[in-house]
Amino acid sequence: MTRKLLLLCIISLFISSFAFAQVDVLNKVISKSNTITTNNQAKKESRDTLPKVKDTLPKEHTFKIRFGGDLFKSVVLSEFIPKDSVNINYRGSEWVMDIAVYPKWYFAIEFGDEDKTQVSEQHHFRTKGTYTKIGVDWNSHQNAKGMDNMVYIGFRYGFSQHSQEVLSYQLFNRNSYWGVPLEVKDGLATGIRENLSTKWVEGVFGFKAELYNSNIYVGMGAQLKFLIDNPQPDNFANLYVPGFNKILDEIAFGVGINYTLSYSIPIYKTKFYPSNNKRVDPEQE
């Protein structure tokens, strides 16, 4: 148990170093956009000498759709965590999609599936299922033209469809007169509980940064989750829920992270008035 936690800690630090690398990318992007404006001397002079006039000309905005996958689940957790096929096992993946519906506002959706077998001192169980999360992201990052980097906060509604299977457990007996506490492997409370569904909401934040104009974005995000509906399986508990992750007894909060790689495709262009973010009517033009 301790070994597992230690390993996860080390991996966490390893991943956070990736995140620092990402911020470098982000900074480069920002400085790049700054140099464009400073090199433009004429613009700078006019800014200094002339009275400031608000830019009222409509600006073009390209809406992009971004598809991607979560590397944390499908690679780090699925491949690098030591496991033996019977006791500890994890397979998971998450597919993410976001699309700008308005400058700075994104509609986001995430699908995932997980299959996790875990063992503790008391029980050994397998959670299997899928989840969906839908919501919106608000981008706080001021992008240069054509860029679609994000530093975002957002909101999600998530729900799962999963099953819990108790594989074995140990009877809780402090002073067992009959020798070692009985390990139950077959019968009674073991078995599968199907058709479970947990619902939750989550606040998300993170960033997505483009890798050198390649249309490939690296994203990292964290989620703080809050249970809204968690029907318990018969004679067991939702100790782990796909998408929500670990649920502690009597605590409705959960956390999660993702580390995504996504590809962005432009879908359409529209013009906006920068003053009030209103869409330009194409017929008026």
Binding site: L8, S12, S16, L171, Y177, W178, V184, L188, N235, D249
Partner: protein, 179 residues
């Protein structure tokens, strides 16, 4: 909003570490575990009276009581008690116990038997989920027919009354024995 960029990373790192290093819940010492059959002893005078046993009815102590399962080496000794806890074997559907009165005991084993009654408990087990840290505990339901059988003819326990069938906690008296 650019300052957000600088607080994001530490917070994200914090979350990862929080997720990876969450402590497991700890099973508290006050959480009830697998329960026992609780037996209270009363005087045999009360058997034939029509009076009902109440909380104020005086219990009758058993001197030097020794409880031992037939298949287990060690037993449990009470120097004088009016109620006992009997641990049922979760692995089996029956448990056979020696109920010894006036036993002479050294350590956990009996030297010289006093009055011995052999009782067989018949029951079914059900496991109940407690919590993440504690896991499951066993609960028992005494069989409807012949839950307790005497295996010998000379008895110091005259009669057994069953108060409840289900054994789910260590607070409720299950059986009353008259002696």
């Amino acid at each position: 909003m650019s300052f957000l960029k600088y607080i994001f990373l530490p917070v994200i790192c914090y979350f990862i570490i929080l997720e990876a290093c969450q402590p497991d819940d700890i099973c508290g010492y006050d959480i009830p575990d697998t329960p026992h059959v609780i037996i209270t002893f009363y005087d045999s005078l009360y058997i034939h009276k029509d009076s009902v046993i109440t909380d104020t009815t005086p219990k009758k102590r058993v001197s030097n009581f020794f409880l031992k399962a037939l298949s287990v080496k060690n037993g449990i000794f009470y120097s004088g008690t009016d109620s006992i806890l009997v641990p049922l074997n979760p692995e089996d559907k029956t448990s056979k116990f020696l109920f010894v009165k006036n036993a002479q005991v050294q350590g956990d084993s009996i030297i010289k038997g006093g009055d011995i009654d052999t009782l067989t408990f018949s029951y079914t087990r059900k496991d109940a989920y407690i919590s993440r840290a504690c896991g499951y505990k066993a609960t028992f339901i005494l069989n409807e027919e012949n839950p307790i059988i005497f295996n010998d003819s000379v008895k110091w326990i005259y009669q057994i009354d069953k108060l409840t069938d289900t054994i789910t906690n260590d607070t409720q008296t299950t059986l009353i024995m008259y002696h």
